[in-house]
Every structure is written in C-alpha cells, then in structure tokens.
Amino acid sequence: MLETEALIIGGGATGTGVMRDLALRGIHCILIDRRDLNAGASGGNHGLLHSGARYAVGDPDTAAECRREGDILKAVAPECIDACGGLFVAVEGDDPEYAERFAEHCRSAGIECASIAPAEARKLEPCLSERVFAAYKVPDATVDPFRITLENVNHAQQLTQSVFLAHTELERFIVDGGAIRKAICRDARTGETTTIHARQVVNAAGAWAMRVARLAGCSGVELLYSKGTLIISNGRIGRRVINRLRRPGDGDILVPGGTVSLLGTTSETVQNLEDIHPTVAEVDRLVAEGVAMAPQIAHTRFIRAFSGVRPLLMAAGADADGRKASRGFSLFDHESDGLANFATVAGGKLTTFRLMAEKTGDLVARRLGNREPCRTASTPLPSADAIRWTEPGFAPRYWAARRQPVDLVLCECEMVPASAIDSIVENAPGADSQMSLNAIAVRSRVGKGTCQGAFCSLRLTSHLYDRQVYDSPAGLRHTRDFVAQRFKGVRPVAWGEHLPQLELAEALHCGLLGLDHLAEDT
C-alpha cells in the first residue's frame, strides 16, 4: 500500500499543476494516470497561450482570465513559451461588424489590441491572403504543453519526493465515513493491483473527470465532450499565431509550433471517449477553411493529424454546442455529496491551468490544515537535462553546438541524439523499466518529423535493446504500438507528396519487420 497526503488523478496540465502547487506548499503527492502525461487534451491541442482575444467577444471573463494567466506563465516558465505574438485577420466574406467590435471587446478585457492595415499584416506574415480586409495585433503566444507538465512533475518530485505513476488506472474507491479511504488502482501493463491511501483525493482527469467522480458516487460533474482535430504541417508557415477574425469556427487558428505549424480546430460533440481519432472529412474541412487565411495551405504538406477532447462544463439547461459552452472551469468540493476529502477540478483551458491548480491547491491545503500560500504565480519552473527534449528545434541546436560524432543521431528528422534518449529513460518523470517508445515520444521530438516514426522507431528500438533497456520481445511490441499510434495520425492526411512516405513506412514496418504479425505476450 502506498501512502500520501494527496492523490491526484490525471497527468495533464491541470493534474501536474495541482501536484506542483501542493508540493510548493510542502505537501507530498502521488499523481496517477491511466496512460501517461499529456495523454488527453493536454497533449491534443494547439499549444496556444491565449492572449484572451479569441474569447473577448463571447466570453469576456475567460478572456480576462487568459490574459492574466498568460502573463504569469510568460514570467515563470519562459523556456516553455514562444512569445511570437498573434494576428486576428478578417477575410472577404467575414462579418465586418464583428471585426469592428473586436478591438472594443479586447480593450474591455484589458487585452492589447492594435489595428493594422492589411498590407502591413501581409508584410508581417507573407502567407496571408490578399483577401484580408481587417487585421489586429494581439499578444498571443505559444506554450509547449509537454514541457510544462514535465517541469511541473519534475519540480514536485524535487520539492517533496512526490511520485508520478504512469499507466496506473483507478479501478474503484473505498469510501467510508464520509471520506475516500483507499483508491484501488491497476497497472495497465502488468495487471497488478496497487492500493493508495491518501488523506485528500483530487480528480483532475480532464475528459474522464465525470467518470472518476461517479466512481466516488458523485453525480454533479456534468461534462460535454467536444472533439477537436488539428493538422500539423511539415514546416512552419507563419511567424505568429494567426486567428480568423470571426465567431470561432473550424480551421480558424494557425499556430506555430517551433519548426512546424498547427492548423485547427474542428468541434464536434461526442458521447464516447474511446477510439477518438482524426478523420479525412475533418482534415478536408480544416484545409478548406485554412486556405481563406493562408492560401498556401492548399499546397502545404501536412504530416499528421491528431484529435483531443475538450472537457467542457455543462451548465444546467445549456444546449449541447461545444463552441458556445463556457471555457471557464469549476472546482467541486463534493461536500454536498457527503465527501470531505474529494475535489474535482474540471473545464478550463491550457492557458488557465495554473489558476485551476491554485484554486484546487487552496482547497486541498486548507483541508490538510496547511497554511502555506500558493507560490506558483511567482516561483519559476526549474528545468532539467531530461525534460528539455520536447522543444522543437532544441535537439538539433544542441547537437550542432556539441559536435560529438559518437553521439549518434537516432531520429534524423528532428535530430534527436542517443544522449537525449539515454537521459529520458534514466531521469525523465515517468521513466520506468522497459519504457515504451510512446512514452519516450511524449518526452521528446522522436517520431514527430517528416518520417513520422518510419525510421526512428527502428533505430530507437535497436538502441534500447543495445542499452538493455529492452530485453524481451516486449520491446518490439512497443515499436509496433508506437508506429500504430503515428499511423493513426498520418492516415487522414495521406495525400500527394505524403503517399510515398506511407508506402515506405509500410514496407519497413510490415514488409521487413512483420510488426503487423507480432506474437502477443502470453
């Protein structure tokens, strides 16, 4: 049985944010996730650090919240953020009145917003369409959601020896006398059962928060699942975040992600959280809409699509439209459910995760009798060797500066050297024995380049066998799971220049290695 002061369920931005918030108050935590860090919406998003402008017209409270939180994150985690700035552009056919009201709404939410001439906008961003008729500059930025969760966990581990357990799924709670006494968990890999005894339990399970709450017998957490799909280009398209100046819709945000760009998103209400994957129809819709802002998108090579599920809070009686639902968050103390040591934090956005963690941390600390204040708004997030590898372009620069010929580049597309992989399997949060390729990919750029795992999967596997990280056929199954995961994202964008890439990957993975016919573990 494991003991802790606070058990946190869900390894996304919020859960890891709560973990660090509590650790900064001196509280020991165990964080569990049924899969891994960033496995849900925290890994399936634009990486957009909203200035708030996008919500200025429809949701001024969220807009102001985004602005304040964005400023805090820029100060405490600058290494996770590219303060690239943003543009809002209206193209012919968009509502000119909406465009006119935009600046006023930004001002009332306290968001800097400067109108610029369309010609000036095109000078700043040559990819913009000739049909742009209005443009505004806003302080949008991008954030690396993987690095920020890794830094959260790493910091909490340092502060209070807190623990993160990957592939650990909550099976049930043992509730007794108005409190959760035990959490019975199962290791998704080995099937072994672990019992965790915690004084406080925090449900930060994102889209799965409703299920976790129900396991505790609480029915008040009502979520709307809104699936969003995004596509990733082979190279970076614009310098800044480029937003369509209209009521939020499909394909209206183009966000740079270091060396690539992400175009999104779609919004579709779904009932089921399993088997969420991008479709060809969604990709077509994104491209068709994106072309209006940046015509080159019609000819851009997209290398992958991915989907996430936004866990949106459903207010009583609200209609089930994902675009109109609030981006705000709620903290449930579950006292009306008769539980004194359970809290659920749900809804919200990546940009506001710190605030969500602060409010949750305040509640949990108070219940634990801890009087330390929240320090996350002013304490910088420390980095470490093993958690630097998610930043696009970092590994190539590191490699180029070091020039160590013996440090083999394993992933050629993103130029990830063997030393990076070694540091991840040894020291990254969640590093454990027989670490999967998918887990390494969450902590690096491996498999994120042009080849989408076609080659790096094989080189990485070989390296891990050489280093005896893998010592059984399970290693090959990790390879298979990794390429299958990449393929899920590649399939809906397979078109034109990308088709030869897929043929080659198939020849390597199925033809050469027979990964499609591996024996299952018995």
């Binding site: 082979n234 090579r301 372009g393 993103e414 076609a454 220049e497």
Partner: protein, 429 residues
Amino acid sequence: METASQTAIRTIDFKAAARELLPPGASYDACLSCGLCSAGCPASGLEGMDPRRFIRMAMLDMNEELSATAWIWTCTQCQRCKYICPMSIDVSVLVGLARGAWPSEKKPKGIVRSCEAQLRFPGTSAMGLQEQDFVEAVEEGVTAVRGQGDRFARLEAPIDKQGAYFFVNQNSREPATEPEEMGPLWKIFDYVGADWTYSSKGWAAENFCMFTGDDEAWRRMVEQRVDAVNRLGCKVWLNTECGHSFYTVWKGVERFGLKADFEAGSLVSYYARWIREGRLPVNADWNTRGIKFTVQDPCQLVRKSLGDTMADDLRFVARTLVGEANFIDMAPSRSANYCCGGGGGFLQAGMKELRWAYGKRKFDQIATTQADYVLTPCHNCHSQIEDLGQHFQGHYRVVHLWTLICLSLGILGADERKYLGPDLARLGL
C-alpha cells in the same frame, strides 16, 4: 576598409531557396528522410554532416549552422544523392548556393585563385597560362611529334582555324606541365582525319568558377568559351577527356540562356563512334598478359549530363581496348558510380585529410576489382585516383584513354608513357 558584410558568411533561408530552386515534387518538403542519399554519399560523416541532415537542418530552419558548415566544400556536387533519391531531391543546388554566400576570403583559396586566374586572360586557363604560352606549347609539341617518324611528319594541331568541324578544348595541365600528353590526342585526330582546331581564346578545359558558387563568374566563363566557338564557326565543341569542363558549358548554356551555334560533344563518344565506324581500328591484341582494367565514370560527364549512354560508350571503348575478359567493372557503376572526391574543386581546396576520407570509398571500390589500371577520362578523377592510390598504398596505375588507344594502334611514343607501368613501358616500341 573591410566591412563586416564582406567577411561574414551570408545566411541563406535554405527552405525558401529550395522551394524556389527545386521542382515542386522534389523540394525539401518532399523528403522522406529515408537516408538513401546519405548511404550513397562519400561525404557522409565528414564535418558531422550528410545530405539528409542538410535537408533536415534546412527544414528545421537551422540556416545559420547550414550557412557556416564547411561540409559544403567537401560535397563535390556529384548529384549521387539526387540520382538515388526516390523523390529526386537535388542537394547540390543548395550546396552551390551556400558556397556562393561565403565571402571570397573564407572560401578555400585554391578554388578562388583558380577561378581568378581563369578570368584574368582570354584563354580562360585556371593555371594562368596566357595565349602565347599555349600556342608555344602546342607548336613545340607538334614539332616533337613530327620528329617521331614519317608516320606523323605532317601532323597538325591547328589553332584558330575558321570553320573547322571540331572546336577542341584542352586541360591546362598538359600545356603547362606535361605537354607530351597532348601527342596521343593529336595522333588520334590525325588517324581518323578529323577536321579540328584549338582556339587561342577560351581554349582551357576547366572551370573552377562554378565551384566557387559564384554564378556570375561561371556565366562569364561560359560566355567567353561559347563566344570563342561561335566566332570560329565550329559545328561541335569537343570536350577532351575531362568532366566538369563539359558539364559547366553544357549546363551553363541552358542555365544562362546563351546562344550556342554548336553542339556539345564529349571525346569519349567520338572515340566510340570512330571505333564503330572502323576509323579507329583498335583491339586488345596487345594485351597478351591479361592486364586488368577498370573504368571510372566521371560524375560530370555521366550522371550529371549525358547519362548511361555515355557510360555505355565508355565501356564499349574500354572493352574494345583491353579485351572483354580483362575489363572488370566497379560496383556500383555507370550513373550509380561514386564520385572519386576529385571534383567540386576538392583537389584544389587544400583539405587533404577530408579528401582522402571521402576518396576511401573509391579506393575500396577499385581495390575490390583488383585491376592493374584505372581508366579515367577526366583530369580531376585522374589526379585524385592516383593520389588515393599513393595515400592508401594501392597497386594500380591511372591512365587516360588516349594512351591506350595509341598503344593499341602501335603509335604510342616512348615519352608518351608517363602513366604506364613497367609492364607496358616498352610494348610496341
């Protein structure tokens, strides 16, 4: 006073340049990262680089690192990468662009000086030979050949002969340092009764300006040569046994949109034609001891310009000269053959250790054939392969085709055997 901009390497936006300079389906965006280019590139690993890495670094916007890497001077622009690439991506184009972005004083001095020398006098010689030097060397050479006996008493090597069918160029190495090597070539022309001429202008068969990455200098060089041929009214500009001098003109005419009133031809295809027509009745009867030969495919002549047709002609000539059983091909061969590392200005660039490291693959290829001689219809290949043999202690010698042709015809003079070994030093005299 020198300004910073003169001494700094200009940073290129490689991704944008690739999009502009390469065809849409073969731009860097189309790269599969498969690494076939790198596996087949003798420069892979030098300076920590290879062709795939070049493309990936461009895609990752590492423009400063790419602009500054000295690897661009070890890449010979041989286009083996483009040849093998499933998407036909050409790395050499951007290597050329990157070379051009280096300030002259940072570029390898040997290449820069060779180009400057070419621009200095109308003969366009990289060795700085002036018109009268060339004319004198030819005249003295002709006198020497005529002195070899009655057979060549009336041999001629015309200069500036208006309306001759062939305009023949000449690598500066012969008139400057080994004029006796011109004799066999003239004897062959004499033997087949070719109507040919040298020119006092634009005669030199080398063009290092292309290798400096300075397109403007390349263009000027080609213009001078095209003018010289047009002015003499020749039908065919006949490139002697040399690789890049052919490519620079053949490609340059198209690239710079020049008006050329002639056809570009390689001497090797004419050897083949004359043999097929019976005008050059060579055979391998002389090779009674079964001396083994292999042949190097000059990248500039085969892969980069005339393709496997050229490689086939080359093999036809070689097989006829040495005997089917005595010809051992390299693997891979023809358009897939590896660059020896003498091209791209590498021989003139100073970087010896790197050049040897590059050439090791060629040396191993040759060693595997166990050939006694390597036939090289290209001067840079000739020098590099000979140097590799010395450096890696190989057991082969390197010869031009003209030497063997004259040997087979029984007309090779005693002092025209510099590159033959003791086994052939006296044969047929």
